[in-house]
Point group: C2
DNA sequence: TTAATAAAAGCAATCGATTGCTTTTATTAA
DNA sequence: TTAATAAAAGCAATCGATTGCTTTTATTAA
């Protein structure tokens, strides 16, 4: 059973007393084969259970119908959704996806890039790891003549195609909403600032506060409160302050927001009356917590589709050098109970 | 920039006035190259930014360090977790994953199988689609000399390596738990019976009832209540019966269980006092609903690792024909508030 | 019926890396 | 210093499909 020989075009050619080139042409449905021999070849191919060897074909043709994807974690909802969206489109076009996860490790990200270069993929789609250091590996992708599309977490200094969410806008809208609901002291839970998405969310937070004439208070901005646990820790600290915040924007994730909610419950702080909570990502669970959590939808599956379409429609089809382009997807604030309180007169 | 030539071993050989075979041997670190020339070659390779062409290498060597994966949906938590587990192990071994989603369509599953055969992957890991029809495409994988591992949703009649959960046991434990909590009329929400996992869960349900001397009532077994919406519809119907159930086991998914919970809330049925609810899969949200939902953990990430290890340790290493083996993973009943009521004396 | 043209099929090189075998070079033994 | 041996390097075929070019066969025009 093992290592048995597969049927090749030579087997078919031999059986029919033809040349392999005719078999190849018949199978690829190109010209210069008579109707009769084509039929014969196709029938024989089926009979011998012939399957093309894509390795050989791709090697000869000099391109590979494969796209590489590198994400921090495959089983994080946002990335799983993006990948599902990507697959949906690439499948239609007959392309395969090779998927790697960096596990938030820069070293592993670099290794994955190298593997994908070796595989001669025609495009690499990447969202960088949390401990992203420098972009030399990304530059190497371009140097090897492979298309590069960055998404979500992108390296700012590198001019490539990018598909991102307008994190600053979303953040600004979320904070503005909190202000409109009458919250006065709004805390921010932040992610690592070496990732541009978190910088942008902070920028949006600051912009909204300033826009409404609020003071920006460093003591209300907690770095690295990414997970549920860290969100909980940060909340405990914030709510124990002499002058505690009356709203917390967990700009890192909904998981962080969930940590906030649980601590509030435990400390007997009523949400949304005494504390407003806003998360980020529109995870499925935000709809079913008590109260449900206000959050930001990133249209992740659509983002995947957008990325794939960008490749097929704008990058691949062009022979001339294409000008890198940034697609900015408008995220949407989903207002739920955790921030909806009747506005009290001032 | 486009279609530029990459550095090959011939470029290196030419530059150093050597033969390509020496370059190849130096790069693969095999014998018959002097220390001096090896160093020279490695230095030059780095200098010219040489990257191996895996297509050519794999074609020549006759095997491909790639594993194909086909799942119904990439962004369904269970499958995303399994894939993450797979990737974790295959990455360590220098293997790549090509990932396809069937979108629960049999036709697409067949197509994906063919693509992966063409890619000459060394193994295909599959969980079949909901409208699985027959296993000829799977037999074809074997006929082409490619290893096949089925997981979770498997084709029973085909003897291959399989990694599954003991669905019957899990189901029996869940129903037994409900009975122990004093529930008397336990309804079952079922999935399509052409998938063996759902058949097994039904079997476990029936077995538990019979074990405890309960009657099996067909009117309490609702087919095709897979999603949250269908779970809600089924619940509405069940709770409107003259003699409604006092517990619902949503054996299809936690989403279905969530549908049950929401309808119960709306109809003013108190959970767990008047209605016990048990789901399946241990989705993240089951922990944070009110009340939290009793469910079954499938150890999905571990399952992925188990599958990958099976390939590397038992299948790949053996040269003799290996005997297919079924690995049965013990799922775990996670008891939460939705089924915990104080047992009332009969 | 012959010549001109078009269609069909074959030839051979190619994509890039690998590897069994042979030849050349370097090292050790006689 | 020469012969025997070992190490290093080169030669050439190979993996399977593709494709520009040439040759053969079939078709149409003269």
């Amino acid at each position: 059973m093992k290592n048995q020989k597969r049927t090749t075009i030579y087997d078919i050619a031999k059986k029919l007393n033809l040349n392999a080139s005719s078999v190849s042409r018949a199978l690829s449905n190109s010209s210069n084969v008579s109707e009769a021999t084509r039929d014969l070849i196709l029938r024989t191919a089926k009979e011998l259970n012939y399957k093309q060897n894509s390795l050989a074909s791709n090697l000869r043709k000099g391109h590979n119908q494969t796209i590489g994807v590198i994400v921090p974690r495959i089983n994080q909802n946002f990335f799983a959704d993006v990948i599902a969206g990507l697959e949906e489109v690439t499948y239609q076009k007959g392309y395969n996806l090779i998927i790697c996860q960096s596990n938030e490790s820069y070293a592993r990200e670099v290794e994955s890039v190298n593997t994908l270069i070796n595989q001669h993929v025609s495009c690499i789609i990447i969202s960088v790891s949390a401990d992203f250091e420098d972009d030399s590996h990304l530059r190497n992708i371009i140097a090897q003549g492979i298309q590069l599309i960055q998404f979500d977490r992108v390296a700012d200094n590198l001019a490539t195609f990018k598909v991102v969410n307008d994190n600053e806008l979303a953040s600004r809208e979320a904070v503005s909403h909190l202000i409109e609901q009458g919250y006065k002291r709004i805390a921010l839970l932040e992610g690592p600032q070496n990732l541009n998405i978190f910088k942008q969310r902070r920028d949006g937070y600051v912009a909204a506060l300033e826009e409404h004439g609020f003071e920006v208070l460093p003591e209300l901005m907690i770095e690295n409160a990414w997970t549920k646990e860290l969100g909980a820790v940060a909340t405990r600290k914030l709510l124990s302050m002499a002058n505690p915040p009356d709203a917390i924007f967990a700009s890192t994730s909904d998981f962080s927001a969930l940590g906030v909610l649980e601590v509030a419950h435990k400390m007997g702080v009523v949400v949304p009356d005494e504390l407003g909570i806003c998360g980020y990502s529109n995870e499925a669970f935000t709809e079913i917590t008590t109260p449900s959590i206000t959050t930001i939808d990133q249209y992740s599956v659509d983002m995947g589709k957008t990325i794939a379409n960008l490749f097929f429609q704008e990058i691949k089809s062009e022979d001339k050098d294409v000008v890198p382009k940034i697609v900015n997807i408008q995220p949407k604030l989903i207002i739920r109970s955790s921030t909806l309180r009747n506005k009290k007169p001032l």
